[in-house]
């Protein structure tokens, strides 16, 4: 009998936990003085994809922290974190919730293109402006795609698209190589495949010697390396993310490959140098639409680390830029979605790295120059824009 009571108690307390604590989390922001403005972040915060979302949300929170300090008495910006696990299925249930929460006047995200596409109908319907730090799929803003630019009018992004990055990455990777033999590996994600799709048409005849498409869960690259070797490649481009790029680069170098290694902004994470010996990463070429925090200034990175408790991660600069678009509008007194959308559409400001950020009619960041980087003795160094 005693045991039964214990068991029932356990169940009751579990249920109480589920239903009880809900109200506690929403009441925090109200204590401070100033007008409370709600922004939201959508991206993967739990599960297997969490790394991208957690790195981005840290950037967003950093920007908000600075803002709240600066406008202490006037505004308090509070962030709603919406976890979509990077999956369209999760996004489709989070998006209507965020969209119908009228307090939220701007959304930073979604982090992934698939999740963005699944969420878009709801945000468009409720006119919630979005600025994504990392959804790079071309069709979201491409008026030439089937049915027009599907993100119009609410979607914006501070990150350059696959269409811009793909060819630039190829250009940077083959720069200074007299007879390039390029082997391209994608990670089977929409991001990686997209980059390759937009890279392909620009490849001069005879310069590409092979392709491989490898799941982003792969750790053993021996088959791919064997292909690289039989193809006799002297340039290897990986379109994927840094957690897989590090072991790939390591295994390639260990197998005796001496050619060029290159990757896009998914590989360009400040944590990349911690994942492989400096000797392996020496000379790795990377592209991105922005510049990582540490390269902008060491002080900025140190401040970030102090405030957020961890070093800045992948897409950190883009996330800060995206948050700043909304924050500067808030500083202008914007407090409704309509006003926010208008403000974002006409926004013109500086990115962290000092480039101009403004959006074209379809939501792409105008201009969108690509920057080149190279890893030198374990540090990612800016080598100038790619022309």
């Amino acid at each position: 009998m005693n045991k039964k009571i214990q068991r029932s108690l356990a169940v009751v307390s579990a249920v109480a936990l589920v239903f009880g604590v809900a109200s506690a989390s929403t009441a925090q922001a109200a204590k401070q003085k100033g007008k409370v403005i709600y922004l939201a972040f959508q991206g993967p915060l739990t599960g297997e994809e969490a790394q991208v979302g957690q790195d981005e949300v840290a950037g967003v929170e950093y920007a908000i922290k600075l803002f709240n300090k600066k406008y202490k008495k006037k505004y308090v910006v509070s962030l709603v974190k919406a976890d979509d696990q990077g999956s369209p299925a999760e996004a489709a249930k989070v998006a209507p919730g965020i969209a119908s929460n009228a307090k939220i006047i701007g959304l930073i995200g979604a982090a992934y293109s698939g999740a963005t596409i699944a969420s878009l109908p709801f945000y468009k319907q409720r006119n919630l402006p979005m600025v994504s730090p990392s959804a790079t799929r071309v069709s979201i803003t491409d008026p030439a795609s089937e049915g027009g630019a599907m993100g119009f009018p609410v979607f914006h992004r501070v990150v350059v698209t696959d269409k811009v990055q793909g060819p630039s990455l190829f250009k940077l990777a083959t720069k200074g190589v007299s007879t390039p033999k390029v082997f391209i590996i994608d990670d089977q994600s929409a991001y990686g495949v997209g980059l390759v799709d937009y890279m392909k048409p620009g490849i001069p005849a005879g310069q590409s010697v092979g392709f491989d498409s490898v799941s982003d869960k792969t750790t053993d690259w021996s088959a791919t390396i064997a292909k690289v070797k039989t193809a006799g490649a002297n340039v290897v481009i990986y379109t994927g993310y840094f957690p897989q790029a590090a072991p790939l680069f390591k295994q390639l170098r260990d197998s005796g490959y001496t050619g060029i290694l290159a990757g896009g902004d998914g590989v360009l994470s400040p944590t990349l140098p911690t994942l492989a010996p400096a000797s392996v990463l020496e000379g790795v070429r990377l592209t991105a639409g922005t510049v990582p925090l540490a390269e902008i200034s060491a002080k900025l990175e140190a401040d970030f680390k102090k405030k957020m408790g961890k070093a800045s991660g992948v897409y950190a600069a883009e996330s800060i830029d995206a948050a700043n678009v909304f924050l500067s509008c808030v500083a202008k007194g914007v407090s409704t979605r309509d006003a926010m959308l208008k403000c974002v559409k006409t926004y013109k400001g500086k990115s962290l790295a000092g480039a101009t950020i403004k959006f074209d009619i379809n939501g792409d960041v105008a201009g969108g120059t690509m920057n080149g980087f190279e890893v030198r003795s374990g540090v990612i160094k800016f080598t100038g824009p790619i022309k």
């Binding site: 739990t46 969490a50 053993d220 021996s222 064997a226 005796g256």
Partner: protein, 316 residues
Amino acid sequence: MIGNFFDQFWSLTFGGLSLGFIYILIALGYTLVYGVLRMINFANSEIFMVGTFATVIVVRDLFKFTQSSEYATGFRLWFILGVALIITMSVSGLLSVVVELVAYRRLRRRNSGVLAPLISAIGVSMVLAESVRIMTDSRPVASPRAMEKKFLGEFFDAGIRLDNTIIVVAALVLFFILWSFINRTRLGKAIRAVSMNPSAAKLMGIDIDKIVSATFLIGGVLTGAAGFFYVLKYENTGSSIGFELGIAAFTAAIIGGIGNIKGAFFGGLALGLLETYASFFLGTQWKAVTVFIVLVLVLYTKPSGLFGESITRTRV
């Protein structure tokens, strides 16, 4: 393509072999538990994941290696590797025993069939993966390189690398220790007895709980060893690596005949080679499909795997 294949044959084979030996060790973790309990230990993949982190912590935090450190050599190298291996094996072994206590013991006593423990083990693996994810800020983690990956020699143009050699030799040693342990010692005999007939074993005075704990311990220790070798070879880990490798190792155990130690050995080898060859021939994206087709073919011709399901060869 065929010509290329023969050019690369030996280097592919060496890559596949060392991957295969890692599979073998994880597969042994599945197979031992299955042999005794007839249950899939779903949390084994996360025991492996935690093992990889144990190795990283030893190399990075205990011996203070960084990505730009000098390689260790001579006695110091073997000392570091030995310490890392032993600590990793202990961590995984103990964790495995705890998993049994939390996820299986109560359910086993209540005779609750196969599925309830399966779900509670899935719960445990979620808890493990998510805890590690939160502790690592969701970021991948690398083990700094403590050992130079030097080439020992060449075999038909393919370099024989030190780390691959260590993996193959050490895994073989571990396998034969296990083999003689199961076949020669008293405890091994008891494990076999429980695997053949738990009730009869109980009647003969064998403490089933103790045997089950011992089995989980051994399975965890071997899985931990796999974690160590994995880090030695690939040097990277993360909170989500367990799942994929766990499924692969489980497939290996099934191909060989789950519950059968010899089966895990040949299943692991076969899978490691098959995956590597198939990736080269058909493209890496079709690797899983090839494995699946081979799996179906094997099971269709031999419904309980290549070597049948029994913890040793003999089953009456």
